[in-house]
């Protein structure tokens, strides 16, 4: 099932009448669905792909004229179905009956050189974050000052003119973006076959 321009537009229209707000809501919905897959045990390398499959199906249903009252709740239900489908496929593809139902990420620890990960992090910080974003991430996640974290975060929010809640959301989104970039980078480093792809396929 492929996403057509019409179905995608239909999905955006259902999310919000304002195209820019709709695009933002789509992106947030995609992030949530990807996390739902991760929290259901999907491997990091497949979570984004499953999120895309989920949203494509939601858009297709809307194009088919199915009645969908709450797009988000509907997307959540479709995501679970996709996750189940994916886990069954993994089980069928696997040799033997005793393998776990959920796909298990291959143990890449022996390939995961902390220095490489650090290099990836530095590259991602330089390419995906602005100076202010970097300051925010560093200031927000400086967990060594645990007991003073609340005060430090309040001061950081004040200095950026944000509420604590807005700061939390922004820090969280920046970290998600940063982690996605690191995981892509590590995937390319540990498996050069996928050097030109965004996601590493692990089956």
């Amino acid at each position: 099932m492929s996403l057509t321009a019409t179905s995608f537009q239909l999905l955006l229209d259902r999310l919000d009448a304002d195209p820019s707000v709709a695009a933002e809501k789509y992106e947030i919905l995609r992030i949530k669905i990807a996390h739902l897959h991760r929290w259901r045990g999907c491997a990091e390398s497949q979570a984004d792909e499953l999120a895309d499959i989920t949203l494509d199906r939601v858009a297709a249903k809307l194009t088919d004229g199915d009645l969908v009252e709450n797009v988000n709740a509907f997307a959540s239900a479709v995501a679970r179905f996709v996750a189940l489908e994916h886990s069954r496929k993994n089980k069928l593809d696997a040799v033997g009956d005793d393998l776990p139902e959920t796909p298990v990420e291959p143990n890449l620890d022996f390939l995961d050189d902390p220095d490489e990960r650090m290099k990836c992090l530095r590259r991602c910080v330089a390419t995906t974050l602005t100076d202010e974003d970097k300051r925010l991430v560093v200031g927000y996640y400086d967990t060594d000052a645990d007991e003073k974290a609340k005060i430090a975060r309040k001061r950081l929010a004040d200095s950026l003119g944000l509420t604590i809640n807005a700061l939390k959301v922004r820090a969280c989104r920046l970290r998600m973006r940063l982690e996605e970039c690191i995981n892509d980078c590590i995937g390319r480093v540990t498996n050069p076959r996928f050097a030109n792809t965004k996601q590493q396929e692990v089956t």
């Binding site: 947030i28 919905l29 949530k32 669905i33 996390h35 739902l36 991760r38 929290w39 045990g41 999907c42 491997a43 990091e44 979570a47 709450n70 988000n72 709740a73 997307a75 959540s76 239900a77 995501a79 679970r80 959920t102 796909p103 298990v104 990420e105 995961d112 902390p114 990960r117 650090m118 990836c120 992090l121 530095r122 910080v125 970097k134 991430v137 560093v138 996640y141 400086d142 967990t143 060594d144 645990d146 809640n165 939390k168 959301v169 969280c172 970290r175 998600m176 940063l178 982690e179 690191i182 995981n183 590590i186």
Partner: protein
């Protein structure tokens, strides 16, 4: 939604029906979704920093078996922690590029601000020089103070030493006074003793013999006769020696080859150079005794024969 529900969801401890409901909620509710994501970040950061303990640690580690993506998050959390540590002000170094950036930013302002910045820099420089000078002066004063303290210590030690020496001198003086007092007492005692006639001390009898130098000029050894009473215990001999200038220093006297006196100083008596020597009477045997005067180089200066006759 309680924190407990979030933890149950994240640790995979919710029944499937509750799980589905929970997912429907966070997919529709942005703030709940970020709350869950924040909690997961918090747990992962604590785990990566080794701050997770007890039941929470057990539950977290059990979830890792079911959630492979979380393992990647732990790896990311570790490097992020390192990056944050490097970025802390106390660990951060200022690069040349950053310095250049500072100055280029400074000089990109308008003329008024440039002037103000320049004035501030000059003021800062002057203040730095003043502080540097004051600091050096303070250092110098501290050195002086240390030297003064040292001097004070030395002087105190010297005063202490002088006091001790003074004490010693006083003690010496006291001892000296005591000694003088004893000597005076002894002298007084002796005077008293001298005033009284000696009880049983035998009289000391001394015979005197004068050996003139003129005797030695005829070439033969002169002989002098001396009668000694048995009461005589000592014989005082005055010897005239040739005054040809050879005997300006000390001389020695031998009696029959035995040295009886040495380091004798010559003196002039009635125009003649003489020496005096006292020998015990027992040393002079009856009959012939040869008395020789020698200079400091042991050369013979004069020689005499003394003939002793013992009388009752």
């Amino acid at each position: 939604m309680s924190d407990n529900d979030i933890d149950k969801y994240l640790f995979h401890e919710m029944p499937e029906t509750d799980r589905e409901q929970f997912e429907d909620k966070f997919v529709s509710d942005d703030s709940l979704f970020y709350e869950i994501a924040e909690r997961e970040n918090d747990l992962v950061d604590k785990y990566a920093n080794g701050k997770l303990a007890g039941d929470e640690l057990k539950r977290f580690e059990s979830s890792l078996a079911m959630l492979p993506a979380r393992r990647q998050k732990i790896g990311n959390a570790k490097v992020l922690r390192e990056l944050i540590a490097d970025e802390r002000p106390e660990n951060k170094t200022i690069t040349i590029a950053e310095r250049t950036g500072f100055f280029s930013r400074l000089f990109s302002f308008g003329p008024a601000l440039q002037f103000a910045s320049l004035a501030a820099v000059v003021l800062l420089a002057v203040a730095s020089i003043f502080l540097f000078t004051e600091n050096r002066r303070l250092g110098s004063l501290q050195e002086d103070l240390a030297a003064s303290n040292q001097r004070e210590t030395d002087l105190t030690a010297r005063i202490h030493e002088e006091t001790e020496t003074s004490g010693d001198l006083t003690a010496d003086l006291e001892a000296e006074r005591e000694r003088i007092a004893k000597l005076e007492a002894e002298i007084a005692k002796l005077r008293n003793t001298n005033e009284r006639p000696p009880a049983h001390n035998p009289p000391v009898t001394i015979a005197t013999l004068f050996l003139s130098s003129s005797i030695t000029r005829d070439g033969s050894i002169p002989v002098r006769r001396l009668e000694l009473d048995k009461e005589v215990t000592r014989v005082s001999i005055v010897i005239a020696i040739p005054s040809d200038g050879r005997f300006t220093d000390s001389v020695s006297v031998t009696l029959d080859g035995e040295r009886v006196a040495e380091n004798l100083r010559t003196r002039v008596r009635r125009g003649e150079t003489t020496i005096s020597v006292t020998v015990p009477a027992a040393k002079l045997k009856p009959g012939r005794n040869e008395l020789t005067v020698r200079d400091s180089k042991n050369a013979e200066a004069a020689s005499y024969i003394i003939a002793i006759a013992r009388t009752n």
